[in-house]
Structures are given as C-alpha cells and as structure tokens.
C-alpha cells in the first residue's frame, strides 16, 4: 500500500498528462488557437476568441465582437510570455489522509496545472512547505525542467503543521498573475485565499478531501483524530450523525464556492480518488 503522505508521479501519470494535453488541444481546436493545449490565457500574441465565462478578466473581453454578435467573447493570446503562475501545494499533515492520498491527487493536479501554464507560455512556480518548515519553490519554465519539478514533488511529505497562510503570503505567490491553491485548505477561510485576487490576479482553489471525509461510513465507534493538532473525538456515527455531517460539510464547501464566485474566481472541491484530468479541466474551464 502506497504511503499517503507522499506523492509519486510515475511514468503512467506522465503518459496520462500527455494524453490530457492532446485531448484538450483537440477539443479546444488547436488549429484555431494555435498552440496551447490548455490555453485560454492572456499573452502577448493574439490567437483567437472563445466564449466569455463569468469571472474572466475584463481586459480580454472583446467589446467589438459583442457589439456585432451580441454574445460575449474574450481574446485568446498565443503566448503568455513573461506571465507567472504559482501553484501553492498544501502539505499539511491532513493532506496525508485518504486512499489514494490527498497529496497524491493534489500533486497530480498541481503538475497538470503547471503544464497548462507551460503550454500557455507562462512560468510556473510550485510553492510548498519543505521539511525544515520554510516555503520552498521550484520553477517550470520549459519541459526539460520536468525532472527538477518531479524531484521537488517527490520530496514533499504531508506531515507538517505549518499554516497554509504562509504559502499565501509568500512573495512569489503575490508576484504571480494566476494562483492555484491546491490542498484541503481546512485551516483557511475563503477570504484568506481571495485576498490574492487583486489587481486582476486570478485565483483558483482546489479543495481535495479524502473519500472518508466526503462520505464517511456509519460505524459504532470512531475516534476521529486531527493529525495536525492531535485532538480526538470519540463518537458513534449513526445515520443521523452522518446526515448532519454531510449537511455541515456541504454547507462549508458551498460557502467557499459562493465566496469565490462572487469574486469571479473558481473553487473546486474534489475527492482524492478523482481523476486529476477531470479536476484540471474543471479548474481551467
């Protein structure tokens, strides 16, 4: 059984990542927009149009086309040269839960997002806490940087108790034009992440929860343990408690979604057994 506190990006994952790029390129019409499998980002060179989605940067909105077609379109640029993306990877101890582990899916999604940025011509920085407790980073500028990226990801361990706010406050995150926060984000409030959404910076949150956190099973005796604070709660989980839990969790997740939508940003909540391709598509859609 794999260690849920680690993320391992094997060749199979890389192959899936490659296939994802191809599928997205096909779906988005590579011929129309030029390169950029995930594309859709502002850049220096105009590449085409695509339908407007709520929350998109108003600077890319094509008012001229709207005037003619009465539908919203945004301009798509081929390259985003000089643009910086940042992916903040939560490696708190709670990310080491689940089967498969939350950190595994988070790392896969982070890598997929990074390749989307690379495809869009951006430089992508992956930020997370290191073993020493400080914030560490690796940059992906070109495909050949993949080795360093993978090495960085493989060195992550979900056993820290450092607050995710430290990642949000990092200057590299604040220097990016687009920020993805990937983790369970259980120690954060929506406002903590949305504070980054200023001056046109786009922010997306990917909340990864373990299957037993999303849909726990009824049990006579469960001792819930918070791996970060060590707190415990001994209880009997009956149907009524399950229902109350699911309602409470859904309310919290919904609060995040609403808060992000109000700011024109995106928040996605997924189970750790989800396919990273689906998650990446939902984040970038």
């Amino acid at each position: 059984m794999s260690d849920p506190t680690r993320a391992v990006l094997e060749e199979r994952f890389l192959a899936r990542l490659q296939r994802l790029a191809v599928r997205v390129a096909a779906a988005r019409g590579r011929d129309e927009t030029g390169q950029g499998a995930f594309a859709g980002e502002r850049g220096d060179e105009f590449a085409g149009h695509r339908p407007y989605r709520a929350g998109e940067d108003l600077r890319d909105f094509d008012w001229e086309l709207y005037g003619r077609l009465e539908r919203g379109f945004v301009r798509v640029r081929r390259r985003t040269a000089g643009e910086r993306w940042a992916v903040l990877l939560d490696t708190s101890a709670s990310m080491g839960l689940g089967a498969p582990g939350k950190l595994q899916l988070a790392a896969e999604v982070a890598t997929a997002l990074a390749f989307a940025g690379l495809d869009a011509g951006a430089t992508v920085a992956l930020l997370s806490h290191g073993e020493s407790g400080g914030v560490e980073a690796v940059r992906l500028r070109k495909p050949r940087d993949l080795g360093a990226w993978l090495e960085f990801v493989h060195a992550r361990r979900a056993r820290l108790t450092r607050p995710t706010r430290e990642l949000l406050a990092d200057r590299r995150a604040n220097a990016a034009s687009r920020v993805f926060v990937v983790g369970d984000l259980l120690d954060l409030a929506p406002a903590d992440v949305l504070a980054l959404a200023r001056r046109g910076r786009r922010v997306a949150a990917v909340r990864v929860l373990a299957p037993h956190e999303v849909a726990p099973a009824a049990e006579e005796g469960v001792e819930w343990l918070d791996p970060e604070r060590g707190e415990r709660l001994d209880m009997r989980v009956g149907d009524e408690a399950l229902g109350a839990y699911e309602r409470a969790l859904e309310a919290r997740l919904e609060a995040w979604r609403i808060a992000f939508a109000r700011h024109g940003q995106r928040c996605v909540a997924v189970r750790s057994d989800a396919d990273f391709e689906d998650v990446a598509r939902r984040v970038l859609a």
Binding site: A210, E213, L225, D226, R236, A244, A248
Partner: protein, 411 residues
C-alpha cells in the same frame, strides 16, 4: 481474612480479565484521522442524539465476565477465617523491678507501653506476664492496672524464648539477651538508676551511682505481718503468731503494707475436708480458692483434690474456715506453716543493684505480624460462588438472546 484452598486457581481470574480486555479492544473505537474534525465537532454540538457517545460494554458481556470470575473464585475455594483479620497481638510484659524505675517522668514500663502502639496500632490485645512458673493472661486494650503497679515479690524477666512467635511483642526496658526470630520488641531504654537497694531492719543500703552506701538506722524498723481475723486463734493462726515473734515481725491490720499477709481467700460453700500430711492430719471445712492471682502462686496444701492453701509473694491464701486441732505431730504442723511463711515473706524493700545498673538504648524492632493460626473454623463459599457463576451465565445468555437486547447484541 480470606484464604484459598486452591490458590493456583486464582490464576484463572486472568481469563475473565482477558475476555473483558479482548471485548473492550474489539469494541474500541477505530482511530480514524480526518481533516474535518471541526465538522464532526459541529455535528456533536448541534445534536446530542446525532452523535451519541459510544457504548463499549454490554450487559451480556458484563454478566459473562462476572460469571467467569465467580467460577474462578469458586474453584479457588475461598475460606473466611473470621478471627484472622482481628488476630490480636500477644504482648509479653516484663514486670521485673527495673521496669518500675523512673524514666521520662513516669516509669520504664509506661515509656515502653507508649511505643507499643507503634507496633500493634492499638486495639485489643492479649497481655501476658511471666515469671518463673507463673503465667498471667488478660485480654484488654490496655495493660491491666494491677500489672502497672510493681509486683509483690521478686519478679524475673519473662523467659522470652517461650514467646517467640508471630504476633508476639516483647515489652521490656533493655533489649533482651535472646534475639527474637519472629517476635517484635519494644524496649523503653534504660540508664543506670541510683537509689534504694535494700531497706533492712537496721540499715538502708543505697547505690549512689558508683558505690553502695550503707546508712545505719537510729532505731531498728521491724517488718509487719497481717492475718485475717477469722484465722486468728486457729491452729494456723497460732503457728503464725509464734513464727512472727521468732522473726521479729509486728502485727498490722493493713495487709497491703505487710511483708506477709495470711488471707482468707475462700469463696463459695464450705465443705468438710481432711488433709493428711506426713506427720499430722488436719480436719475442718474449706471453700474454694480464688482462681486467679495477680502474681505467681503455688499450691501449699491440697485436701481431697481441693486446694486449701496457696503461697505467693507476700501472701498465703487459705480456703480453710473451721479448723480443728491437728492430729499427730503438732510441732511438725507448726514448722510446716513456718516454712511456708518464710517462703512467702517479701524481701526487704528496694531494687537490686543489678537491676539499677541495667542500661540500654530504646528499641522498636518489628517482627512478624499476628497470623490467623488461631482463627475460627473458616467459612466456605465455594457452593455459593458456583451458584452465582451459573446464575450469571444464564443471565448472560438471557441478555444476549432476549428480544429487548437486540441493540446490545450488535456490540
């Protein structure tokens, strides 16, 4: 105190303990790490019914464990030695003269008795005094008052080796020469005590801490003797009078002060007796003597299986009331009694030099606690425990399969 016929069976108590542990382990909550503990806390706080506290025990399990425990105890064969837990201490008290010498404002005996509680913890005990062939017992919380007073006559230290047993405490002033194997020892401690060694008729002999000092009396002081009024004028009374003149004793009406007291110690109904000695025969009526004396006593004269005269330090107890003139050798009769009077007469007042020179450190030495060897026949519980085990087992079955226990059965 509870003891067990088959103590090895107590090891079987591990079985119900093991069963209980395994059951508790099986019912123990599964530890599940989660990042959503706060949500669960919210659920718990929002509804007391939604998240009930777990129940790790069930009635059938409790009954089963109790049944197994009762069965193991029944097999072990418990015995309740009812007097065992209250087995009294046997406190052997040294009443030799040195015990009544001063110490710490009272006597060495009192000082030693104060330390007794350290060993026994107080409570009722069997007090014992012994000297020569005499042994006296008393069951009380405290040393009987008459034993707190200096005894009449010369008492020796108890023969400690006779009392070397668990639950026995020796009370003395200086650590005995015999090392106890099981008994405990309390010694008051003693320092050389100058004072009167002997109060003789014509001089006082005292020890000043270094040497004996003899002080002649200006006028000789004669010792006294007492004879019970109903004995005066009888053949024995007349012999006593003749003996006292020969010994230069004065008569007194205070038996406590007398060097010799001839007492009427009979109780009960008088009956005719005839006492035959080698050279004389005495007839009369006699009652029975008091059974107990506060000090060593020995039979002086026995008539037809009835003790009619007894000697002890400073006294002769007579049970004879109506005494006819002795038949046979009257001189031998008088000498017989004179020798008895001599034997019983107290020596001169004072404490011997050897006793006054005794010294030693205070001592509290713990030996073995009282055992239950003198316990009453033990009570048996095997059958009751076996019955309880069977009843508990049946109750466990009933609780397991009864319709109303369906909720429990899932645990």
């Amino acid at each position: 105190m509870i003891s067990f016929e088959r103590p090895w069976a107590l090891a079987l108590l591990a079985v119900p303990v093991l069963v209980a542990w395994l059951a508790a382990r099986a019912a123990r909550a599964r530890e599940t790490p989660t990042g959503t503990l706060e949500v669960w806390r919210e659920v718990e706080a929002s509804s007391s019914r939604a998240a009930e506290r777990r129940r790790t025990w069930s009635w059938p399990l409790a009954l089963l464990v109790s049944s197994l425990a009762a069965a193991a105890l029944a097999l072990a064969g418990p015995r309740d030695h009812r007097e065992g837990s209250a087995a009294p201490w046997c406190i052997v008290v040294d009443r030799s003269p040195s015990m009544y010498l001063p110490r710490e404002g009272s006597t060495r005996l009192d000082a030693a008795l104060r330390a007794v509680r350290e060993i026994t913890g107080g409570g009722e005990a069997t007090w014992c005094v012994e000297s020569d062939e005499f042994i006296g017992f008393a069951r009380a919380a405290h040393l009987p008052d008459e034993w707190r007073e200096p005894p009449r006559g010369a008492w020796r230290e108890p023969r400690w080796e006779l009392f070397d047993a668990p639950g026995t405490l020796w009370v003395t002033d200086v650590a005995p020469g015999v090392a106890p194997r099981a008994a405990s020892v309390v010694a008051s401690g003693a320092e050389p005590q100058p004072g009167l060694v002997a109060e003789l008729e014509d001089e006082l002999v005292e020890w000043n801490g270094a040497a004996l000092v003899r002080t002649p009396r200006a006028e000789p002081k004669r010792r006294t003797f007492f004879i019970a009024p109903n004995l005066r004028g009888t053949p024995i009374g007349r012999a006593a009078l003749a003996w006292s003149r020969a010994r230069r004793f004065d008569a007194t009406d205070e038996p406590a002060d007398a060097a010799l007291a001839i007492l009427d110690g009979g109780i009960g109904e008088a009956r005719p007796v005839e006492c035959s000695h080698e050279a004389w025969t005495l007839r009369g009526t006699a009652r029975e003597l008091w059974l107990e004396t506060p000090e060593p006593a020995s039979t002086l004269l026995e008539c037809g299986g009835v003790v009619v005269a007894r000697t002890r330090a400073g006294a002769i107890d007579l049970a004879l009331s109506e005494i006819a003139e002795p038949q046979g050798d009257s001189t031998a009769f008088a000498l017989f009694w004179a020798e008895a009077f001599d034997e019983s007469t107290l020596g001169p007042r004072g404490v011997s030099l050897e006793e006054r020179q005794r010294s030693g450190a205070p001592l509290v030495q713990r030996g073995l606690e009282p055992s239950s060897s003198l316990a009453a026949p033990p009570a048996h519980f095997d059958a009751w425990l076996a019955l309880a085990a069977a009843a508990l087992a049946l109750a466990a079955l009933a609780a397991r399969y009864a319709p109303f226990s369906s909720a429990d059965s899932s645990t």
